[in-house]
């Protein structure tokens, strides 16, 4: 699982892979073997190994909202944000309730549009890629969350976008 994780001003690419006896976690260019066990709800014991050392950390985490986790360690506490670009299907908001599903899809992080894969008016199926957004040197395909018609595309290839900028409308 490839993630973008942000703590305060710091932003890192983090890769989490399950293996036989725990996880392999890569933060930037540093790779750790992590044995993570839950002691009680929210409280984990992390045994973290890198090439030289092993350390045990007791960490409390609590999901605060979509993609935001409160993390409390012996060295401090605060929110850490996790974005999950590759597993991402589409951003949903602004939809009418029931009946016809209309949706405007916004950029969920700042980046640059590298490709627009369909034309306005195209009929698309759930999971079909619509736009490719590059952020953190990763290309992320923004896909349709449901079958429908792309009624409008707000961006062009090469265009930088800020978080919250509209990308396309799906009906």
């Amino acid at each position: 699982m490839d993630l973008i994780v942000r703590q305060g001003e710091r932003e890192e690419k983090v890769r989490v892979r399950r293996n036989d006896d725990g996880y392999e976690v890569t933060v930037g260019d540093r790779t750790y073997h992590v044995d993570a066990l839950t002691a009680r709800a929210g409280l984990r014991s992390l045994r973290i190994e890198d090439a030289q050392t092993v350390a045990q950390h007791e960490v409390f985490t609590r999901a605060q909202g979509e993609g935001v986790y409160w993390v409390s360690t012996s060295r401090g506490a605060g929110p850490v944000e996790v974005a999950d670009p590759l597993a991402y299907l589409a951003v949903q908001t602004h939809g009418g309730q029931g009946g016809k599903r209309r949706q405007r899809v916004d950029a969920y992080m700042p980046g640059r549009v590298t490709a627009v894969l369909v034309e306005e008016g195209a009929a698309v199926t759930r999971g079909q890629g619509i736009i490719v957004l590059e952020a953190m040197k990763m290309e992320n395909e923004i896909r349709a969350e449901h079958d429908g018609t792309v009624t409008r595309i707000h961006v062009q290839p090469g265009q930088p976008v800020d978080m919250g900028n509209p990308l396309f409308d799906l009906e």
Binding site: M1, L3, V5, R6, Q7, G8, R10, E12, V14, V16, Y23, V25, V27, R30, Y32, V34, R40, G42, L43, R44, L46, I48, E49, D50, Q52, T53, A55, H57, F60, T61, R62, A63, G65, E66, G67, V68, Y69, W70, V71, S72, T73, R75, G76, A77, G78, P79, V80, E81, V82, A83, D84, A87, V91, Q92, T93, D106, Y108, M109, M163, G164
Partner: protein, 520 residues
């Protein structure tokens, strides 16, 4: 006072308080086989004191004035439930002579001094006069206005420089001037008068001795109903934030046996001058040369009483009760000397890195420290709601060790075991203090903490040495939490995330409003 005091056994006590001190008193009572009854306001129905009490009675809605401060209702309740005595704790009604009088008139034992002693110590002017008459040192100077420069010069000479000029009608630091030597007197005198006139419409000023970077050192006293008063040694409470004590310890690192004896004698004289009985505390300012000056007497049990208990082995609450029953103080309380060193920190539901903003809410997880030399006096438990209605103190964490250095190491260890999740606490401030060289070396004065906080000198300590993933730990923890959550959602079917759009923005806003945590 008559020569024969009838012994009156106390069998049931009503505790007119809440929180950790109500719990502390209940513990003392239970060990003595005395029934403990508590009162509670509406939001305190499930408070720790209620859960631990033998009896519990509602006293009103959340505001203190409609609950814990209803003296007449509390006395009526105590009579109705057949209590023999009322323990007022600290705060609330504990220093109201009128309440002590109501108890006496209703035939109840007030576990504290007489209303007359409370009254005498309650007035600053009156207590200062009494203390001077009793030969207890007070801050030199006087409230007499100084109409011209010659009067001021004569007064300053008599007191001894440095002196402080204060506006008679003043307050809040306005019109106050420190004068280090006679050369500065004339200009400061004129400036202080005109400032006082401009600020208060009254240009009269008076002089007091200026005490350079004093320490707050207080003496615990205990008096019985037979006229005996003893000193149980000092506590140093110089670490204060806006005049509120934050860390207390016993003994003081600058008080030796000789100074302890002199301060103890002064405190006993002060208490005896007002016919004091039960537990009380004389607060002094101590200057660098070992001179001390009486500030005031607190006519009740103090928040920080446990540090005295740990270095003397005396249970102050139980001694209060025995004294209130009429038992005389025994010879074991004469000439008590401290053994080892105790330190207390007050754990508040406040964010020390965000201007001490209150942090009410539900305690999601709570683990108190434990093990050798650790005591926790708490008023909350895991799952408690910390409400906005009362003092935000959650608990007092107290440690004891053979000497100060080891006590501080133990405090550090205890803080590393402490876990409070769901609300912010002042625990990180204590971690920062433990890394402060002045605090570590005992180089304290009453302005030190405010100065260091204002200067931003207190920062969470950066640990030495290298360990795996030290800086990456929060990122790893969040990524794993996210990974687990995503896997759970994948097995449970697709979730419909709400308002994805705003998540970075929401976190940014939280950071901007000070909710950004305290990463080091």
């Amino acid at each position: 006072m008559t020569a024969t005091i009838p012994r009156k056994r106390i069998r049931k006590v009503l505790i007119a308080n809440r929180g950790e001190i109500a719990v502390r008193i209940l513990r003392g009572l239970r060990e003595m086989g005395i029934r403990g009854a508590v009162i509670y306001s509406e939001p305190d129905r499930l408070g720790l004191p209620v859960l631990l009490a033998d009896e519990a009675y509602p006293i009103g809605p959340a505001p203190s004035r409609e609950s814990y401060l209803r003296g007449e209702a509390i006395v009526e309740l105590a009579v109705a439930i057949g209590a023999d005595a009322i323990h007022p704790g600290y705060g609330f009604l504990s220093e109201r002579a009128g309440f002590a009088r109501l108890c006496r008139d209703a035939g109840l034992t007030f576990i504290g001094p007489s209303p007359e002693a409370i009254d005498a110590m309650g007035s600053k002017v009156e207590s200062r006069r009494l203390m001077m008459a009793a030969g207890v040192p007070v801050v030199p100077g006087g409230k007499d206005p100084l109409p011209d420069l010659d009067d001021a010069a004569a007064a300053a000479e008599a007191i001894g420089y440095p002196v402080m000029l204060k506006a008679a009608a003043g307050g809040g630091g306005k019109g106050m001037r420190m004068i280090p030597s006679p050369a500065e007197l004339a200009s400061s005198y004129r400036a202080a008068r005109s400032e006082a006139a401009a600020s208060f419409g009254d240009d009269s000023v008076y002089l007091e001795k200026y005490i350079v970077e004093p320490r707050h050192v207080e003496i615990q006293v205990m008096g019985d109903l037979h006229g005996k008063v003893v000193s149980l040694g000092e506590r140093e409470c110089s670490l204060q934030r806006r005049h509120q004590k934050v860390v207390e310890e016993a003994p003081s690192s600058v008080v030796g046996p000789e100074l302890r004896r002199r301060m103890g004698e002064a405190a006993v004289k002060a208490a005896a001058a007002v016919g004091y009985s039960n537990a009380g505390t004389c607060e002094f300012l101590l200057d660098r040369d070992g001179n001390f000056y009486f500030l005031e007497m607190n006519t009740r049990l103090q928040v920080e009483h446990p540090v005295t208990e740990l270095v003397t082995g005396i249970d102050l609450v139980q001694t209060q009760i025995r004294v209130a029953e009429g038992e005389p103080l025994g010879p074991e309380l004469d000439g008590v000397q401290p053994r080892g060193h105790a330190v207390e920190v007050r754990l508040y539901a406040e964010d020390p890195w965000n201007r001490f903003a209150p942090s009410p809410g539900r305690i999601e997880m709570l683990r108190w420290p434990d093990g050798p030399g650790v005591r926790v006096d708490a008023g909350v438990y895991e799952g408690s709601e910390v409400s906005i209605h009362y003092d935000p103190m959650l608990a007092k964490l107290i440690v004891w060790a053979a000497d100060r250095e080891r006590a501080l190491d133990r405090l550090d260890r205890a803080l590393s075991e402490l876990r409070v999740e769901g609300i912010r606490t002042t625990a990180p401030l204590f971690k920062a203090l433990l890394a402060d060289p002045d605090f570590r070396s005992g180089n304290l004065d009453i302005g030190m903490l405010d100065r260091k906080l204002a200067a931003g000198d207190l920062q969470p300590p950066v640990e030495e040495g290298r360990e795996a993933a030290r800086d990456d730990l929060p990122l790893i923890a969040a990524a794993l939490a996210h990974h687990d959550l995503a896997n759970r959602q994948a097995t449970a079917g697709p979730a419909a995330p709400a308002s994805r759009r705003s998540r970075w923005g929401a976190a940014g806003r939280r950071a901007a409003t000070g909710g950004g945590g305290s990463w080091t």
